[in-house]
């Protein structure tokens, strides 16, 4: 199972193994990683699973889809590497994926 690293705003890192087909959002919830709420359960309708994809992973993970960009527009402190965690599906080639958590979900 691919390993995913979550980095808190304080710098603390948590590393978990996620099943292929799960998402960065569901993986955080299942492993009690704070800082991701996932209020809509992954339907791309709440924007509370906002993460920053580590620069070296941006190319591999890709950009936000149309509806995702719309929800991201209203998240706090959006950056070019912002994504919604529920829209990043874990695949084998994401071994080592690193995401940074924002300073609060809104």
């Amino acid at each position: 199972m691919p390993r995913v690293v979550y980095v808190q705003p304080t710098g603390t890192q948590q590393e978990v193994e996620l099943a292929v087909g799960s998402t960065v959002m569901s993986g955080a919830l299942a492993n009690d990683i704070s800082g991701i709420d996932g209020d809509c359960g992954g339907q791309c309708a709440c924007g509370t699973c906002h993460v920053y994809v580590a620069e070296e992973w941006v190319g591999r993970v890709g950009g936000a889809g149309e509806r995702e960009s719309e929800m991201l527009m209203f998240a706090a402190a959006v950056q070019p590497n912002s994504r919604l965690g529920c829209q990043i599906t874990i695949e084998r080639d994401l071994e080592g994926l690193t995401v940074h958590l924002p300073d609060g979900q809104h």
């Binding site: 919830l29 709420d37 996932g38 209020d39 809509c40 359960g41 339907q43 791309c44 309708a45 709440c46 924007g47 509370t48 509806r67 719309e70 929800m71 527009m73 209203f74 706090a76 300073d103 609060g104 979900q105 809104h106």
Partner: protein, 404 residues
């Protein structure tokens, strides 16, 4: 009227005759069994005749998420009728479609985002503590008036940095905009004139001063606000007042009522105050302070085999979706430590999802932290009087006594 309705069996009438927009059903708290029947037998339901005209009801959790997320097919715009079954025209971004909505929401959003809330938390706590310390002991009083209204008004004044001694005006204006029956929108606007003048004055003042953390100062210094005309500015100020007033007020009352009806949950909370954030979310789901949001179809759409036509009115009944046990386990029960407690419909979803949700949660969290810190027991002495409305889902009064 209420009493005859409450004796009505929702299963005894033909399903097409069911009209869940009748405010009496909310006042006497019987609407739940009507929603239950609709969810089971006709989840996308058409009512051809009601006081608000013909309208569709969406009653299942996932259908509501789909409609709420599809702003292209389902418009919020005031020019189509806005966001409540009873047409209400006001120019603010809850009743706008993109791109106008997006620009104005972006201006307001940082004001109630987590970093700014941290600046306001101390003051909110101080004022909450003062209200609680002032409560009479051992004698009956009305929780709605004495705590929920007083506290939300003080919060509003704090958030806007509104002259504190004149804060009663905020409640007055909020009531004029939503609850008080008024003959016409022209009359309503006339009554709101003093509100617009007052905020116009404050706006000019704040623009001249350096930026501060209050909502008004943030709005006055934002780029988008500089492009708003006066009517839009007024509309948005009112939206912030109204958005955070009845909803938060009624959740505060709901938390006392829910704990009274579920003493085991209160015991759980006392033993483990770390459950407060989870309890706050559960209370917001359980209460569902806004029963519905309305949309208007911009094109013909099929939903669960039903043909919704361009121009039709649609109510997304959050109150029903939040009791949908196909999505939420034991949805009728109040369980403060339930799994996925944040996954409820009360704040809506999609681009109009409540922008003040973090603020509302913060206010509730602080109230309960301060209640538990004081080990206060609030005893409910009688049933609440509920609001006559199919939109605002709340309480007019709740008799209580502080017994420790």
């Amino acid at each position: 009227m209420g009493s005859t309705l409450s004796t009505l069996d929702p299963y005894s009438i033909p399903i097409e005759k069911i009209d869940v927009s009748n405010p009496a059903l909310f006042q006497d708290d019987t609407v739940g069994s009507f929603f239950k029947r609709l969810r089971e037998e006709d989840p996308v339901h058409f009512c051809s005749d009601s006081k608000v005209g013909p309208f569709w009801s969406i009653t299942k959790f996932n259908d509501i998420v789909d409609v709420d997320s599809n702003h292209a097919a389902f418009s919020s715009d005031a020019s189509n009728g806005g966001v409540a079954l009873e047409n209400r025209m006001r120019r603010n971004f809850i009743a706008m479609d993109p791109p106008k909505h997006d620009e104005q929401r972006k201006a307001v959003s940082p004001i109630v985002a987590p970093p700014n809330l941290r600046n306001l938390e101390g003051l909110i706590r101080e004022r909450t503590a003062a209200v609680l310390d002032d409560l009479p002991r051992g004698t009956e009083f009305d929780w709605v008036k004495r705590v929920s209204i007083d506290l939300t008004t003080k919060m509003l004044a704090t958030l806007f940095d509104f002259p504190y001694e004149e804060r009663h005006l905020l409640t007055e204006w909020s009531d004029i905009s939503v609850t008080v029956p008024i003959e016409s929108d022209v009359e309503r606007e006339r009554l709101l004139r003093p509100c617009y003048d007052y905020f116009g004055k404050l706006w000019t003042e704040r623009q001249k001063q350096p930026p501060k953390a209050d909502l008004l100062s943030m709005l006055a210094h934002s780029d988008a606000a500089k492009r708003m005309d006066v009517a839009e500015f007024n509309g948005n100020v009112l939206l912030l007042i109204v958005g955070g007033n009845d909803t938060t007020r009624n959740t505060m009352t709901a938390s006392i009522l829910a704990m009274h009806q579920n003493p085991g949950e209160l015991e759980k909370l006392r033993k483990n105050p770390e459950l407060i954030p989870s309890m706050v979310s559960e209370t917001i789901r359980w209460q569902t302070p806004l029963s519905h949001m309305r949309r208007t179809a911009t094109a013909d759409v099929w939903l669960r085999g039903k043909h919704i036509r361009k121009g039709d009115k649609i109510a997304m009944w959050y109150l029903s979706g939040n009791r949908d046990d196909e999505y939420i386990e034991r949805a009728d029960e109040y369980i403060i430590d339930r799994k996925n407690v944040r996954q409820h419909l009360s704040f809506g979803f999609g681009i109009h999802r409540c922008v003040g949700n973090r603020l509302a949660e913060l206010q509730l969290k602080i109230l309960w932290e301060e209640l538990l810190k004081r080990n206060m027991t609030i005893e409910v002495l009688g049933p609440p009087v509920r609001t006559y409305s199919n939109f605002i889902h709340g309480y007019e009064s709740l008799p209580v006594k502080v017994s420790s």
